[in-house]
Symmetry: C2
Subunit: 214 residues, 2 copies
Amino acid sequence: MPMPDNFLPASGPGRPKDLAKRKAILDAAKKLFLIKGYDGSSMDAIASEAGVSKLTVYSHFSDKETLFAAAIKAQCTAQLPEKLFEQDQSAPLEEVLLAIAHSFYALINSRESLALHRVMMSMAAQNSKLPKLFYEAGPQRLLSGMEDLLRRADQTGKLRISNPRNAADQFFCLIKGGCNFRLLMGLEHEPPAEEVARQNVEEAVSVFLRAFRP
Amino acid sequence: MPMPDNFLPASGPGRPKDLAKRKAILDAAKKLFLIKGYDGSSMDAIASEAGVSKLTVYSHFSDKETLFAAAIKAQCTAQLPEKLFEQDQSAPLEEVLLAIAHSFYALINSRESLALHRVMMSMAAQNSKLPKLFYEAGPQRLLSGMEDLLRRADQTGKLRISNPRNAADQFFCLIKGGCNFRLLMGLEHEPPAEEVARQNVEEAVSVFLRAFRP
DNA sequence: GTCTATATAGCGATAGAC
DNA sequence: GTCTATCGCTATATAGAC
């Protein structure tokens, strides 16, 4: 019982093409929205960048806002570091904090993260729904993870921390440093070199430990 | 020898009207650009908000970019705190740092500052000329002022600071905290209440002092 | 010098051919 | 399911009346 009708529809409409184009559209949208912003990216430009027609874009995403939300969501999940708080148990505390700090520093100072933060902030002035989702999916999770880690460190006597939530906040702020702010402002065009990154992270962790060690 | 021609030109063209309208246009531009962003603010809306016609706007500012630059510059100078590092000599160090921290905290978490930072960051993705000017006129000055203060504190033995520039950076980052980030992201719609502001600032200064006191 | 009215261009979103 | 061509709208910037 053969089914010749479903074998390789040579050029006609089918599902496989669909997914490939959808991915191309999403990639183009991510790229343009992050670089040029929401208003600066036209549907024509996105379609052109994706190599499809504008109506193909509209067949996959009902309107510009929907496409923007999908692109941002895809970018967020692509950036999300799932396993940042996993090497906790055995290693000494300073090494754990340094490892987390290095990962966090590299993450937030990457081109993609800087662009994402800029777009989210510019959007927050008018509609903070997406920025809220972004914050809860990203920064807030890191904050909670660090809070738990610091609470355990306090309970085991490795640190003396009365307010773990605020301490976690202060930890990440110290790692961010003025460097991240200058990058967001476009003062430098490339993420910091390996050497200066290492020094910034080590100094920040050192400050944190001096403030919270018993 | 009277000069009747120059006495109160009743309704005709003259300079006084000029300046009042120019100020109205600049105020309207500042307001709209900060709230709705560059692309979100039309020349029509600015003219309407200022109570003048669009061509009057163009007679004062050659194009939209020029008006934007002028509005941002006016807003920057309006926000600049000139006397943040003046009460240094006599008071004890902790009080000086607390006073500076409170001023800085109130400044960066104000509606105007948040809006200005958002606009500057969104602009930095494409053209970082204005953000650079803003950074050098604002944040960089504060950083240098704090650097000097910390260097003096180190020389007089009140603090032990090997790298005053980085320490100044860390001081401001601690004061900023995650609170400023959440406000920029639109997670909260009002600047922090007096009580939580006071607690955040005091905790941050405390962390800084524990890390850098001899 | 200021206003009403308009030229020109680019945007988001859609209709109809294949 | 995809494309070319187009509608309707709004933006920046300008021309002509007063």
